[in-house]
Amino acid sequence: MLFRGTATFAGSMVLIIIAAIAVFLVVKAIPAFQDDTENFFTFKEWFTDGDTPRFGIAATAFGTVLTAALALLIAVPVALGIALCLSHYAHRRVATTLSFIIDLLAAVPSVVFGLWGRDYFYEPVTNLSKWLHDTVGWLPIFGSEGPYGKSVLLGSIVLAIMILPIVTSLSREVFLQTPRENQEAALALGSTKWEMIRTAVIPYGKAGIIASVMLGLGRALGETIALALTLGSVFAINWDFLGPGGITIASNIANRFGEADEFGRSALIASGLVLFAITLVVNMAARAIVYRRREFVGSA
């Protein structure tokens, strides 16, 4: 009874807090919506000073989704690979030590990674950009002539590094949850270890894997400082990964909030509202995927 009461209370608190955040954002954002002289959703640039404020979230929202998606594309396969190695391939002692380190890394604030990643990867990514342009430059995404350095690619790589530990740590946990009976059932049918992982471990962990990826994505979408430091802050929608470009909602807020006047802040909060909506939609989509297969999934 006590537990149920507490759980209900905690659950409703979460909902109330989320609702309160949404209300706060909406109230604060209303003046900005009213006075924007351009279409807020399709305009790309961001001028909030002066008598005719012109701003929109098109470029920042695009940049947010693009960098986060690229970061996931880079990080998730690596994270799942490492997680599987730790849960099913590595020697016990090695696995325990490495898992411990990765759990520690997952707890490090992302900005630390961001700064480190920027300093450490600036050079290599510049070189990588040149190489990509030279070899597969006919692809529009690698078409930029430079100068290389701060770019969508650098931002995404740094983001990827930031979310790698959390995704690895959580999915390793998920892989370890696979019941031994299921794994033995697969092995007894004559599967190799990899086939066993494909038949028993990965399908069983699907919901958990998606959840861990979502947590990584949440971090990626909300990341501010690291992207403010590594993206080119160019308010444009283009698919050029290598050139000086890229901007995200969160990094735009981080860049401007300090100097913004009241109206400017209102506009930035309006963009925050969009970020909030994007996060919500992504989460709901993931939940829908999990839910659709729910009856087939052993856990959760």
Binding site: N182, G190, Y204
Partner: protein, 258 residues
């Protein structure tokens, strides 16, 4: 298709603990062999040594020879997955893949073997489910989750999954221990039918069951805890249950055991 199993001095360890000591026995093709004995005497360990599932556990290892139709499956050049494909296994607790439908569960082994053609899979799935006496109960819901069946149905599903790949040998570790008497009888009938095609080894704690289904019975025992299990007596089931030649066997089957 069925094969002869010969164990020569099979000794299995968990780390430094010797769980069974030098078990030797010959199991004829197309027969049912029951392994009985008190808890912890190594029946499961021996059974899992027959399809090399013992070595899946960390630090587990084995000595001795295990021949399937004359081929030692522990030879260095033997492919362990090939051994396991040839030897089906049914576990104590029903363990259908929880993420798979009934159909996908049955054909899981076939898919691992590279069978992709839908018509072939469907045909074999039906055959396996019929052999497992489950077809009538599930034919209208093959796409539903395997884990949604009753315990007895799940166990028959696991049997169907094991025999769908047409193994030569089927190992069963207390397949009925989690089941009600009716499901148990259904599975016993099934074992009797399967005997026509497969070599079957079944571990059971149920004496009546051993007496009902098996042709030969092996009695395992341990001296005291910490000692390795040994094969005490191995003979025709009728002989073991009416006129065992070892006193210990007699004590066990008449219920006078420790």
């Amino acid at each position: 298709m069925a094969k002869r199993i010969e164990a020569h001095g099979v000794t299995s360890y968990y780390g430094s603990f010797k769980a069974i000591d030098s078990v030797s026995m010959t199991i004829e093709p197309k027969s049912v062999t029951a392994l009985i004995g008190p808890s912890g005497c190594g029946k499961s360990t021996f059974l899992r040594s027959i399809n090399r599932m013992h070595e899946v556990l960390p630090n587990a290892r084995i000595e001795g020879q295990l021949l399937i139709d004359g081929q030692n499956i522990y030879d260095r050049d033997v492919d362990v997955t090939a051994v396991r494909r040839m030897i089906g296994m049914v576990f104590q607790r029903p363990n259908p893949f929880p993420t798979m439908s009934i159909f996908d569960n049955v054909v899981a082994g076939l898919r691992l073997n590279g069978v992709r053609k839908k018509s072939v899979l469907e045909e074999i799935a039906e055959k396996a489910l019929r052999s497992a006496n489950l077809w009538n109960e599930v034919k209208d819901r093959l796409g539903r989750p395997g884990a949604g069946l009753s315990g007895g149905q799940q166990q028959r599903l696991c049997i169907a999954r094991a025999i769908a790949v047409e193994p030569q040998v089927v190992l069963m570790d207390e397949p009925c221990s989690a089941l009600d008497p009716i499901s148990t009888l259904a599975i016993e009938d099934l074992i009797t039918e399967l005997k026509n095609q497969y070599t079957i080894v079944i571990v059971t704690h149920n004496m009546q069951q051993a007496a009902r289904v098996s042709d030969r019975t092996g009695f395992f025992s341990i001296e005291k805890t910490g000692d390795p299990g040994r094969l005490i007596e191995y003979d025709d089931t009728a002989k073991i249950f009416t006129n065992p030649s070892v006193k210990k066997t007699e004590d066990y089957i008449t219920g006078r055991f420790g």
